[in-house]
């Protein structure tokens, strides 16, 4: 091409268009933990590979950050995760030698219009597509068993704590009763009957137990936030470790109050059975 013809082409706008910019890397989401641990930022372009050696790496752009769904079974493991479009993931990890690799997935989530018909749906699908492994997500699995066992363990620990607390309470009530021996003697000497004093002891036990139980619940509510914050920081998770629900508070009070009353009655029993003169050491 001569210079003249080149100039002509330029003047008429017939020059070859410039090369198009490279396509924007596909978008991905990364977990908050991955973003922090690798010091990434939104909009960064990162390379991912499906191979530990880093071969066949592809570039992706961080479009967003997400908080992984907390999983108690993975406590202590930092969720360094990324979410890719399925087509991008298949292109990244598929074995080039296996033509079917880009068409296979590990699992398919199905949301039924009528969840109550899950069993019938699974039976039907098993007949239509043999070889599929179907599992109802609402069905119990090993992780459920783990938490049932942990629940039993917590219950056992609570039982031991209640026994220790009851002994402590009984010791306190015995000392309280000892302190009030002279008072009880005077009350008996001025004519109050055993039954009347017994009711007073019961009432006192009830008040002390109620006050103690309510204080305990209040303390648990106050500590709940601190406890959760500490363990959420410790494990870098959004899991809630302690939750004081009305049902739990009611359960604690329903155990503590009868125990408190029982402790005050047991501690006072010896005192109530003695005669007024014996109490007055006469």
């Amino acid at each position: 091409m001569s210079i003249l013809s080149a100039l002509f082409l330029f003047a008429t706008g017939a020059v070859p268009p410039p090369a198009p910019p490279p396509p924007d890397p596909p978008a991905i989401l990364v977990s908050r933990q991955l973003l922090a641990s690798e010091h990434l930022a939104l909009g960064d372009v990162i390379a991912l590979s499906g191979d530990p050696k880093g071969s066949r790496a592809r570039e992706f752009r961080i479009a967003g950050v997400y908080e992984p769904v907390p999983d108690p079974a993975r406590l202590g493991m930092v969720p360094l995760e990324a979410r890719l479009h399925l087509s991008d993931l298949l292109a990244l990890i598929a074995d080039p030698a296996d033509p079917a690799a880009s068409e296979s997935v590990r699992s398919i989530g199905v949301k039924l219009v009528s969840p109550a018909e899950a069993s019938a749906f699974m039976r039907d699908l098993t007949v239509r597509v043999p070889g599929l492994l179907l599992r109802e997500l609402a069905a119990s699995d090993d992780s459920d068993v783990t938490f049932v066992v942990l629940d039993r363990f917590h219950l056992a620990i609570s039982l031991v704590t209640v026994i220790a607390s009851s002994i402590f309470l009984l010791a306190l009530m015995v000392m309280l009763v000892d302190e009030r021996r002279d008072t009880v003697a005077v009350l008996r000497l001025i004519g109050l009957r055993r039954r009347r004093i017994f009711i007073q002891v019961l009432a006192e036990g009830l008040v002390i137990a109620l006050a103690g139980a309510l204080f305990g619940v209040l303390l648990a509510v106050v500590l709940e936030g601190g406890f959760n914050r500490f363990f959420q920081w410790r494990y870098d998770t959004a899991l809630v470790f302690v939750r004081v629900t009305p049902a739990i508070a009611a359960r604690a009070v329903s155990v503590a109050v009868p125990l408190g009353i029982l402790a005050s009655v047991a501690a006072s029993w010896g005192l109530l059975r003695r005669g007024a003169m014996a109490l007055a050491r006469r």
Binding site: V145, R152, A156, A164, A171, M175, F231
Partner: protein, 405 residues
């Protein structure tokens, strides 16, 4: 403290036996829980370490630093194992293939079993033979040998010499096209990582490959490596890492350290929290008991001081009472704690996939020492306030006040 101080403190406690017994029982309950929490804090680590060490292999080599189910296999395993075996820091290498198999029971029902293919050339085995014979390296004619765990033997009513047929299911979800293989039970073995419900069988690598339809010299899931005596596992790990950059070698120590970071850390946290609470509880109990006791004995203590007891002597009396209460409770807490640990262990062992040989509560002398130290510290701290009350008691004013009241 002299014997007189102890005797005097003992008499002081014996004067109010109900109170003293309740104090001791309270400390025993608190001490038992504390002891259990100390056992729990390291129980899994101690028993996990014991399980890893039980077979005599101190290094594990795998293809990737990933959980077992997601981990790729070691390719060209035979060559890799031979290269590792040739290292001067390595004594022995055993290749392992892990899979599943299906076996039909005497009732006609099928059972899924955990199926292991192991190198039969090694002196060490990743299992403990309990009865019968181990897998031999050479063929003796007849069906190939198989070692099975007790649970499988009981379920299928097997005895050494019994025969059974396995259908391999080893390709992680892909059914094997290999024909079923008839095996002869050579012996019964205990597999350290079996959970109580596991049915496990192990065969030679070649027989495993035949059952699963795999090439005899194909991949391996894991190499168990025993370091040479005197060299240590760290040297073996370094040598393997230098030899094969693509393989991941870990000493038992490193695996335990990793387990400590992620596995069951919940139990360490709960033991730390409960230990703190129980200690505080014990401290509160003893402080209240001694303080009330001292308050009730002000007149007596003032009288003793007036009679010539030194301040140091009455303070030591309070300290001795605290030590006696905590000491007696502490001693009682040990059998209580052990019984409680057995109960809690039985609850926690219902968790799925926990090896039967793994224990949440494992006894260590250091746990006993820590328990004694923490209780002693609690006794001293709990006695501080009542000791202060006694040491600052004004003799004349107290006596006058007691006379007036």
């Amino acid at each position: 403290m002299s014997a007189k101080v102890w005797a005097f403190a003992l008499r002081s406690l014996a004067r109010q036996p109900g109170r003293a017994i309740l104090g001791i029982l309270g400390v025993a309950a608190v001490g038992a829980l504390l002891f259990d929490m100390l056992l729990l804090s390291r129980g899994l680590l101690v028993s996990f370490r014991a399980l890893l060490d039980s077979a005599g292999f101190d290094v594990r080599v795998m293809a990737a630093d990933a959980p077992a189910l997601a981990r790729p296999r070691i390719a060209e395993a035979e060559t890799a194992a031979a290269a590792i075996r040739a290292l001067p820091d390595v004594d022995e290498v055993a290749s392992l293939r892990l899979g599943n198999a299906i076996v039909t029971g005497p009732d006609g029902g099928t059972h899924d079993i955990f199926f292991i293919g192991a190198d039969a050339q090694t002196r060490r085995r990743p299992w403990i033979l309990l009865e019968g014979r181990d897998l031999g390296a050479s063929d003796t004619g007849g069906p190939p040998p198989l070692v099975v765990n007790r649970r499988l033997a009981t379920t299928l009513r097997l005895r050494p010499g019994s025969e059974l047929t396995l259908r391999g299911d080893c390709a992680r979800g892909v059914a094997s096209a290999a024909p079923p293989v008839r095996f002869r039970v050579a012996g019964f073995a205990a597999f350290p990582f079996d959970d109580p419900k596991a049915m496990t069988a192990a065969a030679r690598l070649a027989d495993f490959g035949r059952t699963c339809g795999l090439d005899e010299k194909s991949d391996a899931d894991l190499f168990l490596v025993a370091s040479r005596e005197g060299r240590g596992p760290e040297a073996a790990v370094r040598a393997i890492r230098a030899l094969r950059l693509d393989l991941h070698a870990f000493s038992n120590e490193e695996i335990v350290a990793r387990f400590q970071q992620v596995g069951f850390s919940y139990f360490r946290q709960i033991s730390a929290v409960l230990s703190t609470i129980t200690l505080f509880f014990g401290f509160l109990l003893i402080t209240v008991l001694l303080t009330v006791s001292v308050n009730q004995r002000f007149a007596e203590i003032a009288a003793l001081r007036a009679l010539g007891f030194t301040r140091r002597r009455v303070v030591l009396d309070v300290l001795a009472q605290a030590v006696l209460l905590v000491g007696a409770g502490g001693v009682l807490s040990l059998p209580l704690g052990l019984a409680l640990a057995r109960w809690l262990e039985s609850i926690l062992h219902a968790m799925p996939e926990i090896p039967a040989a793994m224990h949440f509560f494992a006894f260590e002398p250091r746990a006993l020492a820590t328990h004694a130290l923490l209780l002693a510290l609690t006794a001293v701290l709990a006695a501080l306030y009542p000791m202060r009350l006694v040491s600052r008691l004004p003799i004349a004013a107290t006596l006058r006040s007691e006379m007036v009241t």
